[in-house]
């Protein structure tokens, strides 16, 4: 990969980017909704808008990047959008194809109720206005995996418009603080998926599998409110969580259930937007961020070298980590949109407009759907913060990691320990071990029950904190032992015998008169040395707090009260 002309690290915080990109959002006005700290980064210069904090010198280049996303989410349903063939990921080629999907003459589209409900749910979750009347159109283009030669979509009047997606981005030098940002949702529309093409360059042919043709998709068009790869990645992750919580899509990027195309352009703040390129073939969130950042960098370099940006479609080559122009795209496409003549307008109702005596199978009530919406991630996070007293960034981590929230809740259920302790153990120790060995939560050798048992032992002061860490390490080896077994095998129980402890304290003090003198002189650190010595003598089996109390009691007696 060519050495970048402008050094900027998006692997760090967006604050590192801010000085290069400037503040592009000023011109578009403040985003709606929550506490969007849209004057990003630079936590040390917190609330200062960038262009006054650092005046650009004459001739200096300050670039702003603008990123718009088009997201296609495959609707989680049993059958396809307009036909009754099955929706399934891996199946023998062309086995899940009906006559309509193969676009044989004489077939007609029949709309799937579940797909409409999924669209309405998603629209409501993203604060959209649901259009009570929406229309279907045909979008024409030629490609082997689109047998009809057109795709049924909703171009004129989509089912939902004007929403917002709020996501939390980590800012600050330590990336600990989470600040909320919003990206506007332009529209959500229902459309058909196309089939799959397998390119056989060797034999100069394309193999077409129509299993995917006709599956319902939700196309979400986001306004270009994003300005770097990290923002885009975070927004998409949040959308994934929302779709998964709603059950409208499994949103698994690796399986193609969530596809993202990015439109990227750069410009100088204050000047009109630059020419944009479209980046496709992004099949993971990590690559999405990388591709966007690479493309921004490429465009800046190109413009600084005096070149120009072509309005083209580029593909992300994840092996090389760069975007390359896609072949087969001939300039601007004319899709010849026309109304779909076989489908009447889609009418939705609410409690007030519901026609009396209507067949409940044939009408969709927006209010009813709104009432049945499951808990959204943002609400879950808020609940976690309120219920367990954790910091907002903890709730983000819990939701971000697949399966971690469930694990956490299982531990909470089974343990007597305080929620804050559980939070700390799950997010620091447990997650730390997982990350170190690159494991998913479901691959963890330590079960929620085991951790709960361990925390109970800790809570009842049967073992010390450091002993607990040792037990955890043993548990991770997955030798089938319970925490209690490990504790007794390794003799990690806390010393309960107060008399024996007092004996030890006394003998340690007698063996180190100089340290005792230091303590009496008022040296605050000397007592820690004594505690350390006693701990060693007890083979780490005594609680440091108890040791300290015992020592202090003995010291105050000036050694004149011998142990019993």
């Amino acid at each position: 990969m060519a050495a970048p002309v402008l050094r900027w690290g998006c692997s760090g915080t967006c604050s590192a980017l801010a000085w290069v990109y400037g503040v592009s959002r000023r011109r578009r006005g403040a985003p709606t909704g929550s506490t969007s700290n849209w004057i990003r980064g630079q936590s040390s210069l917190a609330q200062q808008p960038l262009h006054t904090a650092r005046k650009p010198r004459k001739g200096e280049h300050e670039w702003a990047a603008v990123v718009g996303l088009e997201i296609h989410a495959q609707i989680s349903s049993n059958s396809k959008l307009f036909s009754g063939s099955q929706v399934c990921f891996a199946a023998p080629p062309n086995s899940l194809v009906s006559f309509f999907d193969a676009s044989l003459p004489g077939t007609l589209p029949v709309l799937n109720r579940r797909c409409v409900e999924a669209a309405v749910m998603t629209g409501l979750a993203l604060n959209c206005h649901i259009n009570k009347k929406s229309l279907f159109d045909r979008k024409h283009y030629f490609y082997a995996d689109l047998p009809a030669g057109y795709q049924i979509t909703q171009q004129r009047l989509p089912i939902a418009v004007n929403g917002s997606l709020t996501y939390g981005i980590c800012v600050g030098k330590t990336r600990r603080q989470v600040t909320a940002r919003t990206v506007r949702v332009k529209q959500i529309q229902l459309e058909q998926d196309s089939g799959k093409s397998l390119h056989d360059d060797l034999r100069s042919q394309t193999l077409v599998d129509l299993n995917r043709a006709g599956i319902g998709l939700l196309e979400l068009v986001l306004e270009p409110d994003l300005s770097c790869g990290e923002e885009a990645a975070t927004a998409v992750r949040e959308l994934q969580l929302i779709l998964q919580a709603l059950g409208t899509s499994q949103a698994n990027m690796a399986e193609g259930q969530l596809r993202v195309d990015a439109n990227v352009s750069v410009h100088h703040p204050g000047e009109p937007l630059g020419v944009r390129t479209e980046v496709k073939n992004l099949n993971s969130i990590r690559f999405l961020a990388k591709a966007i950042d690479y493309e921004i960098q490429r465009q800046i370099k190109e413009l600084e070298d005096g070149g120009e940006i072509l309005n083209e479609t580029r593909s992300f080559d994840y092996k090389l980590g760069c975007t390359v122009p896609m072949r087969d795209k001939e300039g601007k496409q004319d899709y010849r949109f026309m109304p779909e003549p076989n489908l009447p307008p889609l009418l939705l109702y609410d409690a007030t407009s519901l026609p009396a005596g209507a067949d409940s199978q044939q009408v969709i009530n927006i209010d009813q759907i709104r009432e049945r919406l499951p808990e959204l991630p943002s609400v879950t996070r808020e609940r976690l913060v309120q219920q367990y007293g954790m910091l907002p960034e903890h709730s983000f981590t819990l939701l971000n990691e697949v399966g971690l929230l469930e694990f956490f809740q299982n531990v909470i259920k089974e343990t007597r320990a305080e929620p804050k302790k559980v939070t700390s153990w799950v997010l620091n120790t447990f997650l730390g071990y997982l990350k170190q060995q690159n494991l998913a939560v479901r691959e963890s050798p330590v079960t929620a029950s085991a951790l709960a048992e361990l925390l109970d032992l800790l809570d009842s002061k049967a073992i010390s904190s450091s002993a607990a860490k040792q037990v955890f390490e043993e548990l991770w080896k997955n030798e089938g032992k319970t925490p209690s077994q490990i504790v007794s095998e390794k003799k990690l129980e806390l010393m309960q015998d107060q008399e024996a402890l007092e004996q030890l304290c006394h003998s340690v003090m007698q063996g180190h008169p100089q340290v005792v003198m230091d303590v009496k002189k008022g040296n605050p650190r000397a007592i820690n040395k004594l505690i350390g010595l006693v701990r060693k003598a007890t083979l780490s089996r005594a609680d440091p707090a108890v040791i300290k109390a015992t020592l202090e009691k003995q010291l105050s007696c000036h050694g004149s009260c011998p142990p019993a």
Binding site: S79, G84, S95, L96, T206, V208, P341
Partner: protein, 136 residues
């Protein structure tokens, strides 16, 4: 009847990628320019192989222009002739599919239950690369 004539004219074979330079033709009305013809040829994969075809197209457009005679101020445009019908909602059950063998019989070439197609879209030659059309 005109409509059918136009339809037949538009259904010319795909061979012979020849364009038409209406600008050079003294008889052309000039309303449908060469650029538009080329654009249409790419979009709809038809071949305006002859001057007559373009003339038919222009006549068809003139025929359709007669719609402008209708006064439509204050009238909501109709979306489709079905617009006051009820859109039927199907319940989400699997009732079709599993007919790969039948479907594959329609294809000229098949490789292991996949349809076979040419690699990608074959791009059309540009207008200036084409031979100029002989005026008939």
């Amino acid at each position: 009847m005109w409509a059918r004539a136009v339809w037949l004219g538009l259904r010319a074979p795909l061979g012979g990628r020849r364009g038409f330079t209406s600008k050079a033709d003294p008889q052309g009305s000039g309303r449908v320019t060469a650029d538009v013809i080329e654009h249409l040829e790419r979009l709809a994969l038809v071949d305006f192989g002859s001057r007559e075809a373009v003339a038919r197209l222009e006549k068809a457009i003139a025929f359709a222009d007669r719609l402008h005679a209708v006064h439509t101020d204050g009238v909501e445009p109709m979306e489709s002739v079905l617009e006051d019908r009820c859109l039927y909602l199907r319940s989400d059950n699997v009732v079709e599919g599993n007919c790969a063998e039948e479907l594959l019989q329609n294809s000229h070439r098949v490789v292991e239950e996949y349809f076979v197609a040419p690699p990608g879209n074959i791009s059309l030659p540009k207008l200036d690369e084409q031979e100029p059309f002989p005026h008939s």
